[in-house]
């Protein structure tokens, strides 16, 4: 029996180590992909890396994300602005972004909150859940905000690699990023995610 446990442990050690390695690898490479999950990774990266540091921040769902340009606000008011709109999500995930902003960044002077008729309606499923993958391991803030939705299990938050189980596309994307790194066009500029081309054209004019 003891012999058996030793052998099982000997067999499992490489798997456990591989899980840790796979987790670090995928997480690192995935964060470099601004083209995935509607460009949410770039916003999360900025939040966690303390790169928001703006006087004005915009909260809301996709209505904020694609409607309110921080660039125009910056140019008009001669200040700094960032759009933290999160596609498909309501107050609960918007509040998560607010909490993380206060935790990792300078406090903003002004908040613009885009409200709509579903802001206080909580949805059942965790929409676009792949956006949380690189940040959620052992992260209490994300766990508290997302655990009540249908999507992740308890073990996804605490065990390495479990949340990547069966995510073929995500795994392949991170491998592709490692072996063939590309400069993917940013889907968002300062969190703003729509009409970027129009904005560039306007600026050129």
């Amino acid at each position: 029996m003891t012999n058996f446990l030793k052998k099982v442990l000997f067999f499992l050690v490489p798997i456990i180590l591989a899980c840790v390695f796979i987790d670090i690898f995928i997480t690192k490479e995935l964060k470099k992909r601004p083209d995935l999950v509607h460009g949410e990774y770039s916003t999360w990266n900025d939040l966690f890396d303390g790169k928001i540091n703006s006087d004005i921040v915009i909260y809301g769902s996709s209505r904020a994300w694609v409607h309110i340009s921080p660039q125009i606000i910056s140019d008009s008011l001669n200040t700094t602005a960032y759009n933290l709109g999160i596609d498909g999500h309501n107050f609960w995930l918007q509040y998560l972004r607010h909490s993380l902003l206060l935790k990792h960044n300078r406090k903003p002077k002004l908040i613009i909150h885009s409200l709509d008729e579903v802001t206080l309606q909580k949805r059942k499923e965790l929409y676009n859940l792949d956006q949380f993958l690189p940040y959620m391991l052992l992260n209490k803030d994300i766990k508290d905000a997302t655990a009540s939705y249908e999507g992740f299990t308890f073990f996804d938050y605490i065990l390495p690699a479990v949340r990547y189980y069966g995510k073929e596309t995500i795994i392949l994307n991170s491998i592709e990023q490692y072996f063939e790194p590309k400069n993917y066009p940013a889907k968002r500029i300062k969190g703003f995610g729509h009409g970027i081309q129009t904005l560039i054209m306007l600026k050129k004019r």
Partner: protein, 478 residues
């Protein structure tokens, strides 16, 4: 708690360690632990139906004792029929009541009568068909004086509720499982390793092949009117591998898990898609159910001992009942009927016991004759699965008529390479291991140990990377 969940991956080692470390020297304690963990396992799905399971166990235990103690045949018959009626009553209410009520209302509306049937708004208790059949076989065996009733309630409860087989079989017999529960079990390293290997293979079948195929089978079957004949053929093939890998994968995990506790369950599958005729297919597919129907329905009906008409009648009865056992839908009856039709030539010409051996035994490649027989049998099976998977008879007929159209020879709209390559890999491994209990039972045994371990690691990596979206085991609904 599904076999392919993290919860089970934590539950199983805990029970295993308690079983072999703490309860190792005490058989009674081992059985109590097995029973408690089985009830916990079942309650994780829905604790309310645990009472139904316990009631069903108590009923058969008690009627078994009463039948043995009965002083006259009349009393024995009374207790026997009471048990049968209550067991089948539960099955009938939960599984078939709505079907009969709705079918009756539909038939009445055809005659111009409007009836709004009262239907039950209740989910089917998982595993009810399986544990009811456990209990039925036990009661019938006591009634026929084949076995003596079990006096130890814990032992009997473990027989009914042992968690690896509780929700989707194999359907065990008291004569096979009870003696194992009553005998002292000691830790056997080889058996435990073998069990772990079978669990690994079962997981691969379920999460990679079955769940991978399910995505495409669902897409094609749910939108069958939009696809070409060639895509529909592909859809039927995907479902064929989905259902086999789903159910046999479950059975592999169940058998492997039981082996970890020193218990051998009945083999449920024996590489059925390599069968050379339908009779052989039915000796290799869901063996525990087929043999149950053979012993408790076909033989009591007279089996093949009567004349030709009796054989035909009994064959149709057994296949129709088998189809109906799967669920309350005309599609399952049609599936059973088709299989009865397919098997009929071999029954009539007495060739049903022609292929009792393993195909191409001791050889790597089958003969042309063997290969063509396998392809024909496989094609018939695929055809029947269309009825099994379809939502209704009309859906199945439309599906088939769309297959046999001009678009049959066009390029399929859906042709996913990864699942197809995985199926080919899977067939190759199954073919290589077809003489064993399960495909990788002795796979790579002649290789150096590190290479064999590398093979297992590869399977784990494939499972991690290519696991399909989580689907419930198909047979849970039966």
């Amino acid at each position: 708690m599904l076999f392919n969940s993290i919860s089970f991956a934590i539950f199983l080692p805990i029970v295993f360690i308690f079983y072999w470390f703490i309860a190792n020297k005490n058989l009674k304690l081992q059985n109590i632990l097995l029973l408690a963990s089985s009830y916990f396992f079942y309650a994780c799905w829905d604790w309310r139906f645990l009472f139904l399971l316990i009631f069903s166990t108590l009923l058969d235990y008690y009627t078994g004792l009463k039948m043995a103690a009965a002083k006259d045949v009349g009393m024995k018959k009374f207790w026997f029929w009471l048990s049968i009626a209550i067991n089948l009553g539960f099955l009938g209410i939960f599984k078939y009541y709505n079907f009969f009520a709705e079918s009756f209302a539909q038939a009445a509306s055809e005659l111009g009568l409007q009836i709004n049937p009262w239907t039950l708004k209740v989910i089917l208790p998982v595993g009810i068909s399986f544990y009811t059949f456990h209990g039925l076989s036990y009661v019938i065996d006591i009634y026929k004086d084949r076995i003596k009733p079990e006096k130890n309630f814990i032992d009997y409860s473990v027989f009914v509720s042992f968690f690896p087989l509780l929700v989707a079989g194999p359907i065990e017999r008291a004569t096979h499982l009870l003696p194992q529960i009553q005998t002292k079990r000691t830790f056997n390293y080889t058996k435990v390793i073998d069990g772990l290997r079978q669990i690994l293979w079962g997981l691969f079948k379920k999460v990679v092949i079955a769940d991978g195929c399910a995505h495409y089978a669902n897409q094609i079957f749910n939108n069958s009117a939009d696809y070409s004949g060639s895509t529909l053929v592909l859809g039927a093939l995907f479902f064929t591998f989905q259902i086999y890998c789903d159910f046999s994968g479950y059975s592999d995990i169940a058998l492997g898990t039981a082996r970890l506790f020193g218990i051998e369950l009945l083999k449920n599958f024996a590489f059925p898609y390599f069968s050379r005729d339908i009779a052989e297919f039915w000796r290799r597919w869901h063996i525990s159910l087929s043999s149950w129907f053979r012993d408790y329905l076909y033989i009591p009906l007279g089996g093949s001992k009567g004349g030709t008409w009796m054989k035909i009648r009994n064959t149709f009865i057994i296949f129709l009942v088998s189809g109906f056992w799967h669920g309350a839908n005309w599609t399952f009856l049609a599936w059973g009927f088709l299989n009865a039709l397919f098997i009929m030539p071999s029954i009539l010409f007495k060739t049903n016991r022609r292929n009792l051996d393993i195909v191409a035994q001791g050889k790597n490649i089958p003969t042309i004759k063997e290969l063509s027989s396998m392809i024909i049998t496989f094609s018939l099976t695929v055809f029947a699965w269309i009825f099994f998977r379809a939502e209704s008879i009309k859906h199945a007929l439309d599906y088939i008529s769309n297959i046999f159209s001009k678009s049959l020879f066009s390029k399929p709209e859906i042709f996913p390479t990864t699942p197809i390559l995985l199926i080919i890999f899977f067939i190759a491994i199954e073919w290589k291991g077809r003489e064993e209990q399960y495909a990788i039972a002795r796979f790579g045994f002649s290789w150096p140990k590190p290479l064999r371990h590398a093979f297992y690691y590869c399977i784990i990596l494939i499972i991690f990377t290519l696991a399909g979206s989580n689907q419930q085991f198909i047979y849970f609904q039966f």
